[in-house]
Symmetry: C2
Subunit: 251 residues, 2 copies
């Protein structure tokens, strides 16, 4: 399937020159598909959309007041992020990561997040930057105590993303975003509802070790935290989504 020719400039090379620089206006609408993408992405992170749910194009069109073309573009991107699965001629479903993917995601997280702690400890003003994370852990605890599951899940993921964000590396930040969303799917599928998937105690412990500047202990705490989270998954009885609650925003 590689037997074609890239188009050759017709005539005497009249194809337009590339743009001098990106002059994108950040305040602009930024595209309908991006909006849809983020909407569905957040719904999956928050576990309002559970794994296996069918995302019918017409329903999404109706819900977000846009055309099917927009929906299809957004779904294509979500598929590429492994958040939805696109089955030909059958439709889009919220992805259901299997055991292998679970292992891979957590292994990747252990590698990346431990490496990031290493970099964070080289920052001179790390204690200042950690302030917002202490704040975040307090919010986690509060959300947990008032049994606000959605806020708690969101904060639990946000903790890891914000920690990575301190490294001021957009590539790593986006990677962590992607890994957290996939982790959310995994937890939704395999975590016992009663169990706390990502405890704020452990987050607190990581922050303590970071504040002390103890590299070994901080990395060990992070690895253990992720390890514990992975081991809390039960693959025997997966949480099959309930057709009645599916598609129902449990705000």
């Amino acid at each position: 399937m590689n037997n074609h020719q890239w188009p050759v400039p017709e005539g005497e090379g009249v194809i337009s020159a590339p743009p001098a620089s990106s002059l994108r206006d950040e305040n602009q609408p930024a595209g309908e598909v991006e909006r849809l993408y983020l909407e569905i992405f957040d719904a999956v992170i928050d576990q309002r959309l559970r794994p296996g749910v069918k995302l019918t194009e017409a329903v999404l069109c109706d819900a977000f007041a846009c055309s099917r073309g927009t929906v299809r573009a957004a779904l294509a991107q979500l598929q590429h992020d492994k958040i939805v699965e696109l089955q030909p001629n059958r439709g889009a479903f919220v992805a259901q990561p299997d055991i292998k993917e679970t292992r891979d995601v957590f292994e990747a997280r252990r590698m990346v997040e431990a490496a990031i702690l290493d970099k964070l400890l080289s920052l001179p003003d790390l204690p200042d930057r950690l302030q917002q994370l202490w704040q975040m852990v307090r919010q986690e605890r509060a959300a947990f105590e008032r049994q606000d599951r959605v806020s708690w899940i969101r904060l639990s993921n946000a903790f890891h993303v914000q920690l990575v964000r301190l490294a001021e590396n957009e590539v790593l930040t986006e990677l962590m975003n992607s890994l957290c969303s996939r982790t959310s799917l995994i937890i939704a599928l395999y975590d016992k509802p009663g169990c706390s998937a990502c405890s704020f105690d452990e987050h607190e412990h990581i922050l303590q070790q970071l504040s002390r500047g103890d590299r070994q202990a901080a990395q060990q705490a992070m690895r253990q935290h992720l390890q514990d989270c992975e081991e809390r998954m039960h693959f025997a009885d997966r949480n099959v989504p309930d057709p009645w609650t599916m598609f129902h925003r449990q705000l």
Copy 2:
């Protein structure tokens, strides 16, 4: 923009149940958009498509004999991978990573690839698995000596991807694929044409340290290799793409 409701099952919950399991046929067409995606992805990796080139939808339709909807879906995915930039109402351009992105990509690669070496060294049959990489380095040298630039670039990227693939972690493999494609764009933009961006000598050196089982030395070699590659970039005079050669497959 969050003030809508997820659709509620109408009537008495008649929305179809989720699929029991994925029964995707791997030999099937796998989608037109995936084909287009890979075609453009490879063209960027091989530097047949240079940064800044405008990807007109109609031209791509014509070139790959598909509809604009397909093209738009593929471009949306490529945008999300930071391989093309989609400017509203202006069109799609092959991305032009800036200095910040260059720093972030290489930093991420140093972290991830060093961490992966750590895991590889724990494999009992590592020497066996390294065989194919030795072979690959030989091919790199051969391609370089016969001045086959496209093959050489492709093999140079493939070395890193294959190395990661030994860890048998699909998440990390896909990540490395993405990072390599972005690196290709960076090299196309900022590397002096004469300089060798990714020398096979250094690849060989990494393999040597791995074979010896020297963790410290192997990681140091990898970090140094990526550091050297990054430092070879000159941001002063970027290689602005030539409108005449753009879009012309230099097979």
